[in-house]
Subunit: 340 residues, 2 copies
């Protein structure tokens, strides 16, 4: 999308070269526009977005990428704000993104994250962006990953990616970050029962929030229970066993210890080469995910195939046709020259 006379402001919003220059210079406005471009579903915007990413890709990869999950009520926003402000006090620039496929299609979540994290949102060293609007989890995840690459190119040192616990969003976020934090309240065993299957296994660090005042003893007991549960699971990495930390976001306690643990994790993962290896695998997995999404959209846009998919799914579910036969019929439609 080149600049056109009389439309420089429009071109300024979508011209990859202009945006790339702004992002490389660390300009917030350019970063915000770049992310808007990435989120757009218009084909011309998508092309421009890929152009933009290609232009700044060499500058990406430099942030500490942290995923954060926690049930409603556990104090996630309070934690993100407190932790974000702590990181800023250490001289770092902090970006906060989110993956939430249930976000209403209004161009952003209704209660913008900015109202939840007022102080952080206003800080010049922080950049907060709500989740891209709905659609498939794959689509939202891709947009968030690409937004993350842009924030890194703009010079942010830490990227926090929040999930709101909808469906498989935790796995999607774990697949794009270096370290996954799980925020829990001091509920102990009962709390664990309520956690979605597989979430515990994603955690590199469990943070027990609200560990203050009357809840402190309960928080310690919960921390011990969570530690025992983590111990029963086989660690993801030879270089790190998942840990439990206590915190009070409200009182700003425990944040320094958490950051120390994160840096310790990073150092071990860097030294062993595992961090680079993990990022390489994540990128390759992302490519295959995009390939699958591309196949799905072909099925949806191919007139005959999209009709057939629904019918075949029903037949397959009823046991009226084998899944292999159903798949073969669809593949034959998409690839007519294919030997069936």
């Amino acid at each position: 999308m080149g600049s056109k006379s009389g439309k420089t402001s429009q071109a300024g919003r979508t011209d990859p070269s202009v945006l790339a220059a702004g992002i490389r210079a660390g300009e917030r406005a350019a970063l915000a526009r770049g992310i808007t471009l990435v989120e757009s579903s218009r084909t011309d915007h998508q092309d421009a977005a890929q152009d933009l990413l290609a232009k700044v890709l060499d500058l990406s990869g430099g942030a500490v990428r942290i995923g954060l999950s926690g049930a409603p009520g556990v104090g996630k926003s309070t934690f993100i704000e407190a932790f974000g402000l702590f990181l800023i006090s250490q001289g770092l620039k902090v970006a906060v993104l989110a993956v939430d496929p249930s976000s209403a299609r209004t161009g952003g979540s209704i209660l913008g994250d900015k109202t939840r994290m007022e102080f952080l949102a206003r800080h010049p060293a922080a950049f907060i962006r709500p989740s891209p609007s709905g659609g498939t989890l794959g689509g939202v995840a891709r947009r968030t990953r690409e937004a993350m690459l842009l924030t890194e190119a703009a010079g942010y040192d830490v990227v926090l990616i929040e999930t709101v616990g909808v469906g498989q969003s935790e796995t999607a976020v774990a697949d794009m970050v270096d370290m996954f934090l799980l925020l829990l309240s001091p509920g102990g065993g009962d709390e664990l029962q309520g956690i979605k299957r597989g979430i515990m296994e994603l955690a590199d660090l469990v943070v027990v929030n609200k560990a203050d005042g009357d809840l402190k003893p309960a928080a310690r007991r919960a921390a011990a229970e969570y530690g025992a549960a983590l111990h029963l699971m086989r660690p993801k990495s030879q270089n790190w066993s998942p840990k439990v930390a206590l915190a009070s976001a409200l009182k700003g306690e425990g944040l320094e210890d958490i950051w120390t643990l994160i840096q310790d994790f990073r150092a071990k993962m860097q030294a062993s080469g595992e961090l680079d290896g993990q990022r390489a695998e994540q990128a390759k997995t992302w490519m295959w995910t995009e390939l699958r999404e591309g196949l799905l959209s072909q099925l949806q846009t191919h007139a005959e195939a999209s009709q057939l998919v629904g019918e075949l799914e029903k037949e397959v579910a009823k046991g009226g046709v084998t899944p292999t036969t159903a798949a073969n019929r669809l593949l034959a439609l998409l690839f007519p020259e294919r030997a069936s």
Copy 2:
């Protein structure tokens, strides 16, 4: 593949109508030939196999489908043989299949399962088949599922599908059975550490084997530990919480209780409609897996694309090109008329 004069025995081995008739009549030879047809990678055999499945699909679905995983040394073969003979003593016909992508390409595993489970293998009411030979896990899993459908059409009441703990084979087996059994030894906490991530979560029933003689106290303690670990996880179903049972395959103890638990599970899952729902979801997931496998093979057979896949994967892993751009280039090759 119709019958040809002078080649009736060949046609008898591959003619879907002939095989279907034999399988519907419960003939072992027809079943074995049908499974061989399903396992063949020849295109004409694949077509005939899908034909055969279509002809007997209405008779499938009638067995209790049980997956079984256990580390080497836990006594899996001894357990399968003992449990299989127990089921036969209850008047049931038992089929034993396996998913093992590491099976050497010799038309069957080198040490055929038959030597491991001698008595069961010789029994007329049992049908044992080694894992299909190597290739992708997806390919092996598909062949085993189709073999399972054929064994059901041939009248077998229980189908045990064994996994040998290689890679993701447990998940593949859990996706094709009603109930997943995990066989453990009396090792307790240490044993749990050694279990591959995610396996515990698949289990509907954990069986602590070798619960006899000196090991009985250890087995009880281990059962308590495994029970505690299971309790910390959120159950897969509202209708069933995973349980732990003690057994000694060698002494034939605990087998009746295990069968009672399996029937209890089945009754609850049937009554709630969850069994049918689970099978419908499994069939649909299988269809999408086949679609993905079809895409992969298109990428591999398309001359330009297969070359490009490897190169792009390396570039993506290094961070030299975004995964989205890489995927788009491959999709554009496969679907030239697609708007990129």
